[in-house]
């Protein structure tokens, strides 16, 4: 269970990593996930094909990411304000279209979902079910961790992206197009967060329900900061969240007479304690939150 539940948060967190490493703060992850999870269901509903749903969902996420980049870099808007606006817009657009397209609020009818895939050898092992029989995005999310690591830390593109997140002036002087890299990075963050949204609506479930992301985008943001903006850190943190979550669900089953909310609190409480006590001083990318204006003197 841990592995499946971790997937949407892991994907969104890897998305946030792209935009934040390039210097664009991304609190819009929540909204991007919500939009993608909705449009994926709409796509699957009208085409009858969950793969088309996946494509449409991820596309809508990419567009939302690009919109964030456009507002933040082309129009030099306040990234936090834009993020807030996108999150609210996502609530409104999905809720409104849900009612307008499907005729009633709450949730959509069930639609074709992504198939579950058995891994040939694993399904015969004891405990093999832990690693086998999941929807494809589960495997993809873990496979993407090393891919993103190589992308960000071992390729020229990744170096450019990171340099822009630290000292855009220097990168600009060296002939890197700051705006373009940031537009690409926010679009990529939309693709990843979009995959996370689709994993929720067409992977775990087979429908869209209002506000179904329920704060996962914000958790992804927390995981990104815990994980100190590295793919491995993000993976470990999301797995930690996942384990604590599975553990508290287990406790809920044992202590039935204690209201479940008492245990639901645990992942957040633990995260807070870990952050406050064990994690050392955290240093975000230096240029985060600041739009880059050519020729503006700023130290």
């Amino acid at each position: 269970m841990t592995l499946i539940k971790t997937t949407p948060i892991l994907l969104a967190s890897l998305g946030g990593l792209h935009s934040e490493r390039s210097g664009v703060a991304n609190i819009a992850l929540e909204g991007i996930m919500l939009i993608s999870s909705f449009f994926a269901v709409v796509g699957s509903y009208f085409t009858g094909n969950p793969w088309m749903g996946l494509l449409i969902g991820v596309g809508s996420g990419a567009l939302t990411g690009l919109f964030l980049g456009f507002m933040a870099e082309k129009l030099k808007g306040d990234q936090i304000v834009i993020g807030v606006a996108i999150n609210i817009l996502a609530l409104g657009v999905t809720g409104y279209l849900l009612e307008t397209i499907f005729g009633h609020p709450g949730n959509t009818p069930p639609v074709p979902k992504l198939p579950e895939i058995d891994i040939p050898f694993f399904d015969r092992l004891p405990f093999g079910y832990v690693f086998s029989g999941h929807h494809p995005l589960v495997y993809l999310s873990y496979a993407l961790v090393p891919v993103v690591y190589i992308e960000i830390f071992k390729t020229p593109w990744g170096l450019r992206l990171r340099s822009i997140g630290e000292k855009p002036v220097v990168a600009d002087t060296l002939g890197i197009n700051v705006e373009r890299v940031r537009l690409i990075s926010t679009t990529l963050s939309g693709v990843f967060a979009g995959l996370g949204g689709v994993a929720l609506s067409l992977g775990e479930l087979s429908l869209f329900a209002e506000r179904m992301t329920a704060g996962r985008g914000y958790l992804a943001l927390a995981a990104l900061i815990f994980g100190k903006w590295t793919p491995t850190g993000v993976l470990l943190t999301t797995l930690f969240f996942g384990f604590v979550d599975a553990w508290q669900e287990g406790l809920q089953g044992i202590f039935i007479d204690i209201p479940s909310e008492f245990f639901t609190m645990f992942p957040y409480l633990f995260s807070l304690i870990v952050l406050a006590v064990f994690v050392g001083k955290i240093r975000p990318p230096a240029a985060i939150g600041k739009p880059y204006v050519k020729g503006e003197r700023k130290l």
Binding site: M71, K76, A85, G92, Y96, M265, E296
Partner: protein, 347 residues
Amino acid sequence: MDKSRLRSFLAPIASIFFGLAVGAVFLLITGKNPIDTYFWMFYGAWGSPKFVAEMLTRSTPLILTGLALAVGFKAGVFNIGAEGQLLFGGIVSAYIGAYWHLPVFLHPVIAIIAGSLAGASLGFIPGWLKVKKGLNEVVITILMNYLAIYFTNYLVRGPLKYGYLPRTKPILDTAKLPIIVNGTRLHLGFILALIIAFVLYFIFERTVWGYSIKAVGFNPHASRYGGIDVNKVIVFSMLLSGGLAGMAGSIEILGLHHRFYGQFSPGYGFDGIMVALIGRNNPIGVVFAAILLATIRTGSGLVQLRAGVSKEIVWVIQALIILFVAVSYIYERFFRFGKINLQKGEG
């Protein structure tokens, strides 16, 4: 009125106008009638004295959470945790209102003070962690929101549960805030919120404390050189912000709901973000912004009923207005750059 003041007055109005205009396009695309929609939205909030009273009732928590966020923004901290602080303030006040026996006038006063302190103590934690460990307050307050939501829900399902439903015991009559317009739900809390807004306006415009909060928000490094204890100001503004959010929850319970239950706040803490942004962090502006949002929301009931448009349109319009607020900030910054460059060029 000098130019920058005029701009800071006109920019939000332009944002609202453009937000409504793009909202109208959105309505047209989805096959609805925007004129009908906006007419009923306005009528539902201003069409009769009773509607106005209901709208003002709904604006009360928005004013207070808007002020909470505005105080934070002024000092350069983003208190997304207002929702949790509001719930905490609400449950503390609900407890005192129901279980303590106090005289008529004193009861709500004590309950409000305790609720505000509860919110403030929740605001203190992220402020302190930010100053001591450099932890981003956004993440801490987001985590603390979940803590507060689940913790208060646990309390109303467990130790504080009263009756069959997950809610607390109703507060005593001595603790209730009086209704100020007969036959409506409008309670004294609205007047309190207005007074708080004016007090904050005075603090920011006329006192050293208010000035140092603004200075820290504008440029923490320069403030430090200027002899301001930046850390202290940040912690203080988070305390104040949390206190205001706690007060919002407290007043909402004592004036309107008279008991605590999980869904009494439909996200007023988060709405405070919008209110503060539209009101440009000015306490008086916040009052107007809260009334604007309350208008859109109170009117949305009739919109659904009469114009056959989903209530959710409210969120689309709100988001569009915020987007235009973000853009209006941008244009002003460019105006300012222009000026500075000119002066430098001449000098």
